[in-house]
Subunit: 404 residues, 2 copies
């Protein structure tokens, strides 16, 4: 199916600063993946066991998973940074504070997992996205993106190679720098027998569409719009809670059609892929304007949550109908997979043919951190991991840099 | 003199992500060093040729040197960041804009030098310091520092290994993250016959004191206070020029003793090393207060420049007298070495015994970028480069991370 030689492009540096690939691929490798999403509620840590050196011959096992909440001071600093209100000093502090905090989390995680630090081959860390403005969102000018955590500090504190900054190289050569999980989906969730769609519902929602028996260049993946971000935001603002547990609040309310039509006018949903978004576009500021509109039109608080949940489900389904295939096996992951009402609506909006499956990745929150551990595994072996068709980058790149 | 085994400590990672040291040290290596100081006027680029694998057996040759001015928009963004007025988006943009700009400069530099990119072994980049707050300046709490330039973007654009972020590891384990040039001084400016002091006058001034035939652990090095920062600032504010060419403005004025006494009360000068500072302490804001004081006391503009030049010379000399040895061979570098009036005052304040030499490093501006090329050479070979006695770090570290 795929020309392996074409795929196994190593970084074409004159002097190759990389692990000897043969040595790296000679044994099982254990990597930790650290993911912090746009929701800024905490950090997800996966320990993965990987082997293999060729596309679709890799193996991956999720050994352990745990989430850690951010301390209040760190969460506050992250929120400030994401809202574009952090200044130089705060960005510098946050960059190091994340390293100090992650180092502590990793040690605690490994103690609980009874897994010695010395057995760990590397840590792959996504970093906290505080800004993401690729070329396409920058009027065609040079793009930029910023995932915070000092890789130097983290490797110095843990004495383990740290792979990070996965999005920057792709953005530097004209790509969206996102989505990056499709390479994981293509390797582990692909099917020769039927189309597969993976949906990840984090702060932002995204899908990977893997047509039956497809080649890597046939993979389609993009952000669909909001995931939990507006539902969580509305719960915080209107009910003082962090999220809508099991979707119970949304279930109690009524759909407001005027509000739904208004939300549907958002141009991002209908935009053709490749596309990526972040909390810049689906911001708390915009949410507050929506809530203001609702208050002026006497829309009940509970109905706001219900309607935002409808909009979220609709926007994912609409993207699947327009740009993928609603009659595919569907695998849902991310914290949003725990919102039962959202899942029910998603099924209804997709109107999937009953012969197809609708499954949950278990545990749903682990997928992204697990996938980044795999991206770290690929970087350590010098294997390319972006999909130029997906990100729009001009080059095929082994994403991330290795700090030691 | 020195136990080489003790010195050649490699990063003690379980899985060593490094160039094979044997291979790296098997031939001459060409590295570019890119330095941008706190004065934010432009970027200095050195091409160095290095060999050797052991302390004091290294060779270094400066092949080519060139300075590039920052475009106005970039300079503005840097100034904003240094003044702690840049926000998240601006920091993210600056981080990438520096990479795009440096990549362009490196290509132009190499064309002019007729040196092919393919022959280059690595680029060592200091990055633009926009914040530096080590443990000692942070009430004993965890330190942090931020040198901007996306290493990922730069290596992707140049297809050459990029070594950078030299200060973070040292800061992460309790060090000042500065000064880092002493390892260069110890290797190339050391003498078995007499004491040597190197003085670098950039935005901030610093010295390295190398007692005769000393061991690495005997090296003393620290920031002495302002270099050109206040002189340049006063020239800009009062005369609309970027700097005091050859010190001609300062030469015309008169020393104001009241102002000098006021300046001498700055506590940084008398503080015992290890100590480091930046534009946080010797800021434009403070300079504007000094100028305001002068205006209120009818001190002439030209006399302000003269007195600031006296203060700068005095603060360097005072540090040499208190914490080093005025009767050492002295080697001055940095843009400040072109300020003839400053050099004359410096000699007078030091009151050096006439049997000692007072030399200029040629060209004086090249030293820091050349030294960082050497730090990159050491990192590529996995050799430690901080001096714990100098920075105060708890660990001996091969500074920097290698992006490929």
């Amino acid at each position: 199916v795929l020309n392996n030689k074409q795929w196994l492009v190593l970084n074409n540096c004159e002097f190759r600063l990389k692990v000897d690939s043969k040595e790296w691929f000679s044994d099982f490798r254990y990597l930790i993946g650290i993911m912090t999403g746009t929701s800024a509620d905490g950090v997800d840590i996966s320990l993965g066991k990987f082997s293999g050196s060729k596309l679709q011959e890799f193996t991956a096992e999720l050994v352990e998973f745990q989430s850690f909440e951010f301390p209040a001071s760190l969460k506050k600093l992250i929120e400030l940074a994401i809202k574009n209100e952090a200044r130089t000093r705060e960005i510098a502090k946050l960059n190091f504070d994340l390293a100090y905090f992650f180092a502590k989390c990793v040690r605690s995680f490994l103690r609980k997992a009874k897994f010695p630090l010395k057995k760990l081959d590397a840590v792959a860390v996504h970093g906290q996205t505080v800004w993401h403005q690729p070329k396409s969102n920058n009027l065609g000018k040079n793009g930029f993106t910023l995932q915070l955590v000092s890789l130097s500090a983290l490797t110095q504190l843990l004495k383990v190679p740290v792979v990070g900054d996965f999005r920057s190289k792709d953005v530097a050569v004209g790509g969206e720098g996102a989505p990056l999980v499709p390479i994981f989906d293509y390797n582990f969730l692909f099917s020769r027998k039927c189309d597969v769609i993976t949906i990840n519902i984090g702060g932002i929602a995204n899908i990977t569409y893997l047509p039956k028996d497809c080649k890597l260049s046939d993979v389609v993946a993009f952000d669909t719009g909001p995931g939990n971000t507006w539902i969580d935001g509305a719960m915080r603002i209107l009910f003082g809670r962090n999220y809508d547990k099991d979707g119970e609040t949304a279930k109690k309310g009524k759909l407001n059609k005027i509000l739904l039509e208004k939300l549907k006018s958002n141009p991002f949903v209908a935009k053709a892929p490749p596309k990526s978004t972040g909390r810049e576009e689906f911001s708390e500021k915009e949410l507050r304007q929506i809530i203001k509109f609702c208050n002026e039109n006497s829309i009940k608080d509970v109905d706001i949550v219900t309607t935002l949940t409808h909009f979220t489900a609709w926007s994912i389904a609409e993207n699947i109908k327009r740009f993928a295939n609603p009659n595919a096996n569907i695998i849902v992951s991310g914290g949003g997979a725990r919102n039962l009402f959202l899942l029910q609506l998603l099924k209804e909006y997709i109107q999937q043919n009953s012969s197809f499956e609708f499954k949950i990745f278990e545990p749903p929150e682990a997928k992204e951190s697990f996938a980044f551990a795999f991206l770290g595994y690929l970087r350590m072996g010098g294997i390319a991991s972006n999909i130029p068709n997906v990100t729009g980058a001009r080059e095929n790149i082994s994403l991330g840099i290795i700090a030691t």
